[in-house]
Symmetry: C3
Subunit: 418 residues, 3 copies
């Protein structure tokens, strides 16, 4: 509960803490596609999570309370080189910076509204007093533009939760407003975790040639992102051979996203309802993440290599394409009327679309990334959207991108010409 | 098995039991949005389920058999004030009244067809002899209009199952034909249940300005209901502080519905395949209910307040909207040509859609509810569709709507003007 | 790992083993809708799986390695009588023939590309060295048309996995390229399995009147198949009363498919991540299979009869229909203008669509199967797409279709005219 005194201590923190706030404001200029800085003051009794292409929210301790500050605001987000989208987010980012704390912590979170309309924040899955639940109209008044709202509560649980608006939420979530809220268990994890990645799964419709997501769209999305980035703009997930790795996936979109990875199987160990008792764990290579849910999976990175990590709805690993173009598979285009008029004309897709990843075509619409793209060590990877690479290496000393995996002699497939 | 004698005892029940039938007919006039009457004769060895905005089907005991009567028929259903839909259902209701019985019971269910076409009823998830399975053409002839079909079987299991047509089922289910079939365990529940709500999840497409669902639609639905009601027409779920509560969710629509609630976490304890062994329970705050399934969740209502309870596909908490309108987010409408012609003109959505919940706009199409609506104690809630409120209160003596929660002093968020 | 020597032993197998290859080529002519031959050399220490309407891939033992050969190629597939589709698949089939092996086996799989574009094969869920993972561009070069690629690895796990292209995969999977990869456990199953069915769940869009799937479609599919067949072209699943039955379901489509069966409940025992520990099994009557996943369910066939077995998304049990036709439910067509011009004219759907399964209408578009079809012992079943029948019989001595179930006297429903 926020007593009057505590609330004013919060005010004091804002008033007196302008250095902290301006530091936060600079956070808004964080360059996309960068590893998160170690922002927490001092050492923490947990392995900090990594939010690929994102950051963790700094906090400061005021009278034993961890104080965080989120600024809801328009954000220009580069989804991948060549494509910038007018989003809404927090602190210059979409998804917003990851909130990270410990079970038992008391937290105070200031939310400043720099959007053109009212907002609020709901702490999805967090057990708290009704007044702190953040449902505009029901548990609090909507936060008008220009105002700041202070939430305060004690974390009674552990798990990977989310934060998002509960005020014009269909629009605001479609524009990119969401973030992770990670609460580490007081007693530590049953098996210590070496690496922990947090990836938000998102869907957008940005009309090719335009810059702003259309929040009216309900089913026919054309961009599918990991932390508001599309392949090849997605950071690789780097781990050392033998490490115990967690991946937390969160979804506030309209569709389930079945996230698959190669070379291993993982166990589903948590939902946004908290840790799943070990007797109930399921092994999977694909974890289906329904809307309004998180799923945390755990595995031992015991198989070195470059392993695809992606949504298994195949259109979600492609960038913007038109789903209504005529079907050219198998059409003999040499015999069409247009070929008589334009000799050598070849429409796309007659023998599949694999060729498109290598073709040099005419200029695409502005602000649009190729449907299938990305180059690997053996040629075009021809993916997009929700796709990245889990890079497991022996003997690495940093988590910087280690480049392509060098397959040991004789461990690749053989080729025969017929 | 229905022997000839038993079958005729059923006939007798219909012939001699016209009082019962006319009572059923009156059931068809039950006012929507009302709590179910205690219809079972005498006390039952279980806590009766509550079907919000619906009812439980009365029965009478004939020679040790519980006799029920369902009448398949067109139903005019008020989805919320201002919107009436031409549905099909049972006994004047959609969803049909909830069938409730005990493991070990022998039941006889008469199904009278007052639809303009043939029907049948399949008892989804119920273990019974093949001939009673209700699949038109495969296990029985379709029930022609005007005829009555008598099903009879012994309940060998416990769990929350469903009933629905298996005859022109795509049309008939899209029109509202479905209901709960709850079978309580013979030995009682492991932990006694104080409150048990049953909510059917449904999707519809009703062209704005019209009255009849379009059963041809496969993906682009525009109305999403709890027991054929849209917010704010949905009954609140009222529980006393500390009660053990079950919610059973059933889905026969085309999409999964991830149902989320606030302030707590629940355990998934049953499917339409029956009770899940406790070692396999998952904690969740959002339970994903796939089509053709039920999910029963259980929690202790230990957190007082008004807690949002809704589908987490955000378009499913909005009423009819057009998913193809142009995107106005961020468009400076003062500089558009229409403003030169019509000074002061303002199209919707330029700074989000939150404003729409407060604006007074021109008359909507007839028979249409606002896209985002509902007023709370702190302003517009701006929701629709699959949304209701779980109201947990200390010391209540009835389950009537207790009004808005009064947050204890100092437990709400603080506001600062910047 | 494929050493140079081993690789050439593979070459030798191809060069010297032309008899084997030509036998495989003949496999491409296998007639659809036929039970699989017992193709494995000699007896196996497991119950071979049955791929309804499909086959199992033959292999031969070369120096202790099981050698398989897949040929990627265009395939003309009859979905049901009257409808032939231009697909892509393997060895003349879609889905490709089921690969079946044992935990601990070393396998060598030759993949020959007879498609008009490059391909590759990813062994979904199989734990193997990175170089054998089959991701075009990332772990190997794409296999050009006309070339053969040899994969070799040791099976370290058991479970039901899949194979599919990872090269232009959106197109190639939409065209029908996928298959099962079943690995039986070394020590046998905890409870011996008597029958094991493998069914691939697929979605297609074939414009009525045309022959080729449109791979650009993302949401509005119109054909939904079990092993590339639509009801009534789907083989029944035949089991003896009392047998322990497994069904493995695999999905590489864009949607989850909730597969339901009647008269029993099953346990979900495996995913593509392997066996689920028994403490974590869920009982279900409907198992939801997300894209990029397999689910294996197990039950005892203890209830004799003809039991519907189908996807519970109701549009998925219909064949091609138009989802955008006007809604005629309840329209009094006698009073429309067209009736004044054409007396007796009656558009479809005015009192539902059940009538359509019995009506004789004018000629449909060429190469199109009726939306709702199939005749049962009690009249029209009026289904399509992902629908088949589980036939459980006492005392059968073969798994050939036993015809319709004869309900024991007095076990069917009774009918009353009112």
């Amino acid at each position: 509960m926020i007593t009057r005194r505590k609330f004013f201590s919060g005010v004091a923190a804002i008033a007196g803490g302008s250095a902290a706030i301006s530091r936060l404001a600079r956070g808004a200029e964080v360059v996309a596609n960068q590893s998160p800085p170690a922002v927490q003051p001092g050492n923490q009794p947990y392995t900090p999570v990594v939010t690929p292409n994102g950051t963790t929210l700094p906090w400061k301790l005021v009278d034993g309370v961890k104080e965080f500050h989120l600024v809801a605001e328009p954000v220009k987000r580069v989804f991948a080189e060549g494509m910038m989208v007018n989003c809404w987010g927090y602190n210059g980012q979409t998804p917003g910076p990851t909130i990270e704390a410990m079970e038992g912590d008391r937290v105070r979170i200031f939310v400043t509204n720099h959007l053109p309309e009212a907002t609020s924040i709901h702490w999805h899955g967090v057990i708290l007093p009704n007044g702190m639940d953040g449902v505009g109209g029901l548990t609090q008044k909507h936060i008008p533009p220009g105002e700041t709202c202070a939430y305060e509560f004690t974390l009674k649980q552990s798990g990977v939760q989310m934060y998002h608006p509960h005020s014009d939420e269909t629009v605001q979530m479609a524009m990119g407003m969401q973030g992770f809220f990670v609460i580490h268990p007081k007693g530590g994890y049953a098996a210590p975790v070496d690496r922990h990645f947090c990836i938000f799964l998102q869907e957008w419709f940005v009309e090719p040639g335009t810059f702003t997501p259309n929040p009216n769209v309900m089913t026919d999305f054309n961009l599918f992102t990991f932390n508001s980035r599309i392949f090849p703009g997605t950071d690789p997930l780097v781990a050392k051979l033998g490490q115990r790795v967690r991946v937390s996936l969160a979804n506030l979109s309209m569709d389930s996203h079945p996230i698959h990875f190669h070379g291993h199987r993982w166990w589903v160990v948590e939902t946004d309802g908290g840790p799943i008792p070990k007797s109930a764990w399921w092994p999977e290579t694909t974890v289906n993440v329904p809307p309004g849910s998180t799923r945390t999976v755990e595995f031992v990175a015991d198989n070195p290599g470059d392993w695809a990590f992606h949504c298994h709805k195949n259109h979600h690993t492609m960038n913007a394409m038109n789903h209504n173009i005529p079907n050219m598979i198998g059409v003999n285009q040499k015999e069409t009327r247009i070929n008589k008029l334009v000799p050598g004309y070849m429409a796309m897709g007659t023998s599949g679309m694999g060729e498109m990843s290598e073709m040099k075509m005419g200029p695409p619409p502005k602000n649009t990334v190729a449907m299938m793209t990305g180059d690997g060590p053996f040629g075009p990877i021809a993916m997009g959207g929700m796709f990245t690479i889990l890079k497991i290496r022996e003997g690495i000393t940093s988590y910087d991108d280690p480049g392509w995996f060098r397959q040991p002699e004789g461990t690749g497939p053989g080729f025969l010409k017929s």
